[in-house]
């Protein structure tokens, strides 16, 4: 289906605008004159099978919306996502179930993920039944047991009988990962999967997710605001600011040598566990603005310590650096 040159996942100019209610009547106003919340604004990314892509940014930068578009919980205003060279919009129209089998999501809050009135057995059996996996209920139950055992949840019989409120956040998040991995998906979106969990169990959940992904050759998009954690697990990192990707590259290139002023500010403000590392934070003024009709220039220009006249005129294009590393900044020259 896909030859060597087409990447496994192509996010092609995805845009998601929500209409912004500013209290006026919009009936007679054209699309251009209305005010829009540009949650995701022209994002293009590619990734290969089995890779881990980290998406980082502050709250409100559109990283979760992008994740929801990828699993089609939201449909984009424009643009498309290609999976193995095929449009997901088309895949969804042709066979919804086949698409859902290939793309899965793990949500942030494990306490909200499950129906509170069902037992874990019911919760785990439902997708298997819906998608016709396994010949009989006995076989499906055995699959659940096996998956729970492999995920380090025992005694499995005890867990299967429990209700979500009887389990800890860490256990529930494991079950959420197990459930999303049942179909051996090609792509899994992990939307802040550990930010609600305790520090001491985070590492376990992350390792479990990555082990399962490696075993099934699943690509993982890891959405997080924790830069240090993302550095540990992802191959590439995309930094988002106000709905746009401002910097993308191999993890080590981005973290060790950030080029975009926003990425530099973000990383310089990250506290490290090593008390000897003197932090010299770069200056940043103001608060993150809302993405209501930003622009026309670089969205970061009002807060940027490097901003010049050219930044306010038009949104800067990509500046390509080595190893596929690129930044969108008009103050950086190509090497």
């Amino acid at each position: 289906m896909s030859d060597k040159n087409t990447p496994f996942l192509t996010i092609d100019h995805i845009t998601k605008w929500y209409p912004h209610n500013d209290g006026r009547i919009h009936l007679f106003r054209s699309r251009e004159k209305r005010s829009w919340v540009k949650a995701v604004d022209d994002v293009s990314l590619t990734m290969n099978r089995g890779e881990v892509l980290g998406i980082i940014g502050e709250s409100g930068c559109g990283k979760s919306t992008l994740g929801r578009i990828l699993v089609r919980l939201e449909s984009p205003t424009s643009g498309d996502v290609l999976l193995g060279g095929r449009s997901t919009a088309q895949m969804l129209r042709e066979d919804r179930k086949a698409f859902r089998k290939r793309v899965q999501i793990v949500f942030q809050n494990p306490f909200d993920t499950f129906t509170p009135r069902d037992t874990i057995q019911k919760i785990l059996m439902r997708p298997l039944r819906n998608y016709g996996i396994g010949a009989s209920d006995e076989e499906r139950l055995a699959m659940c047991r096996e998956a729970l055992e492999a995920g380090g949840l025992h005694p499995t019989d005890e867990i299967l009988k429990r209700y979500p409120h009887e389990l800890s956040g860490g256990q529930l998040q494991r079950i959420s990962i197990i459930r999303s991995m049942f179909f051996k998906p090609d792509l899994i979106i992990a939307d802040e999967p550990v930010s609600m969990l305790d520090v001491s169990v985070r590492a376990d959940i992350i390792n479990m997710l990555l082990d399962l992904a490696k075993k099934n050759n699943t690509a993982v998009i890891f959405i997080s605001h924790d830069i240090a954690l993302t550095r540990y697990i992802s191959d590439h990192i995309a930094v988002m600011y106000l709905g746009r990707v401002v910097e993308y590259g191999r993890t080590d290139d981005v973290i060790a040598g950030p080029r975009h002023p926003y990425t530099r500010v973000l990383i310089s403000h990250c506290a490290d566990v090593d008390p000897d590392q003197a932090r010299d934070s770069l200056p940043i003024t103001g608060e993150p603005p809302t993405p209501i009709n930003p622009g026309p220039g670089c969205y970061f220009a009002p807060r940027c310590f490097m901003a010049c006249e050219g930044c306010r005129a038009a949104y800067p294009g990509r500046v390509e650096l080595e190893n596929g590393h690129y930044v969108c900044c008009s103050c950086i020259r190509e090497e």
Binding site: H225, I227, A228, L266, H269, A271, D272, Q277, S281
Partner: protein
């Protein structure tokens, strides 16, 4: 020199019908003037209970407190409510995780600050309060117009800064941050921590930071106390403890924490769960999760012992001089 706060053998138990949860057990530590102490541990380790107990803001009819907490010569645990109220805000102030939720949505920030100021200084004039607030707002890099804004007009980071300003109104000697920066964005958290550290250089302030984030402690505190299951397991200078943790729990916490620089080691979680605090184990509380657990750990409770570098560790496997 006399310590600003001297906590001795403090235990706090939540009383229930069926079981009594011993949330803090025999905690002892001291803080000097101008010092900063980070109190870390996973959720349920009793770090908030310890601080809130000291401040007497736990419901008194459902807890039992023993031990003492001497603050400038007064025992916070046994003094009367009237006396405690005199200390609150003037001498000791707290900033909570979602302190912004305490602000009234229908009053301007300035009005609220005036009200709070007058609780402890009833005869203060408007101009006096205004001047003091402006001074503090400048310290946390906020524009003066904040005084006339409503809470909904500001972002979470700004509101948390307002909360810090309010806690500093009467220049308290001791300031407690209970996860005060946890809910904020990376950049905002970095900015606030920096402002707080810079502030301490200009005004005399002693600070306790309750957090689960080791990096917050690393960047803003001088001393750190690690709590596990209601007990203090390691106390010392940040530089010593975070660089070379001695207690297996501290080691576990550190190795489960990702670092921004340096080599990427495999992250390791601490297996197992917190013990049931209504029936704490006879030996070391961490024994069931400890990779180096011995027979002695299961039967005998380790006490805090002093190490050559001055820190104190409660573990049988780490030698050191017995304390006291």
């Amino acid at each position: 020199m006399e310590h600003l706060l001297d906590v001795r053998d403090l235990s706090i138990t939540y009383l229930n019908k069926s079981r009594n949860v011993q949330a803090v057990r025999h905690a002892s530590f001291t803080i000097d003037r101008g010092d900063s102490l980070g109190l870390v541990g996973e959720s349920g380790s009793g770090k908030s209970t310890l601080a809130m107990g000291m401040l007497r803001i736990l419901p008194e009819n459902s807890i039992e407190m023993t031990g003492s907490a001497l603050f400038m010569g007064k025992d916070l645990i046994s003094i009367s409510h009237e006396e405690m109220n005199r200390l609150r805000w003037k001498e000791i102030a707290v900033v909570f995780q979602k302190a912004m939720n305490a602000l009234s949505p229908v009053h301007r920030i300035g009005t609220q600050i005036e009200d709070i100021y007058r609780v402890h200084e009833p005869r203060a004039t408007k101009a006096e309060i205004h001047d003091r607030t402006m001074e503090l707002l400048r310290m946390v890099n906020m524009p003066e117009r904040v005084y006339r804004l409503y809470p909904h007009e500001m972002s979470g980071g700004m509101l948390q800064r307002v909360a810090i300003v309010i806690s500093l109104l009467h220049s308290p000697k001791l300031l407690v941050f209970d996860e005060a920066t946890t809910a904020l964005d990376v950049v905002t958290q970095g900015q606030i921590l920096e402002e707080v550290v810079a502030m301490e250089k200009t005004i005399e302030m002693t600070r306790i930071m309750i957090t689960h984030d080791m990096s917050v402690v690393a960047s803003s505190c001088r001393k750190v106390a690690v709590m596990y299951a209601g007990e203090l397991v390691e106390i010392g200078m940040v530089r010593d403890v975070l660089k070379q943790p001695l207690h297996p729990y501290t080691q576990g916490l550190m190795s489960s924490f990702p670092s921004l620089k340096g080599e990427k080691k495999q992250l390791r979680a601490i297996p197992g769960f917190l013990p049931d605090l209504s029936d704490p184990p006879a030996g070391c509380a961490f024994a069931s999760r400890c990779p180096h657990c011995t027979q002695q750990c299961l039967s005998q409770k380790p006490v805090l012992r002093e190490m050559p570098d001055g820190r104190r560790v409660a573990c049988h496997l780490v030698g050191g001089q017995k304390h006291e």
